[in-house]
Amino acid sequence: MTQLQVLLFATYADAFGASAVTVTVPDAATVEDVLAALRVLPGGATLPARPVVAIDRRYSRGGSVAVRAGQEIALIPPVAGG
């Protein structure tokens, strides 16, 4: 098992009551595993079906993308800059 930190912002940070949470996932984990671990945390039930995920500051495409320790993983709520 691997421990991964996930960065949270805006509505997600409010929902989890934190700007980052740590989840425990299998060693060969995917984005989907990270999301499943997040959903069982307090506030995790409010996540949408397919939240946008960024890995190392780039948007990740799809839940089957592999993640590993040392990567910067973030959940990105609908953006509203400008």
Partner: protein, 148 residues
């Protein structure tokens, strides 16, 4: 020439204009986003912008690079502010210069449209009645905050 920044201090549009202008410049465009007094019919007193700062910077840089690749010779400066802004303060400034007007106009529009879609920045509106809400443009409305 490209420069992008996520800034906490007040944006100075004139300095961005000066920065992109060169001897070969024939057309310069500036886009400013400002905090307006009403949204969805509710009086707004201010907006708090928050960012995933490092990624916002990198995504802005990628957008500017894409524009630069598409419109050869454009000079671009972009600043997006974070923190609490009051009415009429500038949240974003995009300055673009080129020898001709079409690339300056096209690149300006590209940068603001892509920024709106991709740059991880969020805004929380503060209303006259003391309430606050995160804005969700993708839903064409605002998302009520959970009771935390």
């Amino acid at each position: 020439m490209i420069r992008v920044a996520i800034v906490a201090a007040r944006i100075d549009p004139a300095s961005l204009l000066a920065e992109v202008t060169s001897a070969g410049t024939g057309a310069t465009t500036l886009f400013l986003g400002t905090v307006r007094d009403v949204n969805e019919g509710r009086p707004v007193t201010g907006i708090e912008y928050s960012a995933y700062t490092e990624m916002a910077h990198e995504e802005l840089e990628r957008i500017a690079q894409e524009a630069h690749a598409r419109w050869d010779g454009v000079r671009i400066a972009v600043e997006h502010r974070v923190g609490v802004l009051t009415l009429q303060e500038v949240s974003v400034a995009i300055a673009v210069a080129h020898a001709r007007r079409a690339p300056a106009l096209d690149a300006q529009r590209y940068v603001i449209e892509q920024l709106k879609q991709r740059v991880p920045i969020w805004k929380c509106e503060h209303y006259l009645d003391g309430d606050r809400q995160w804005v969700d443009p993708s839903a064409h409305n605002v998302m009520a905050l959970p009771d935390v």
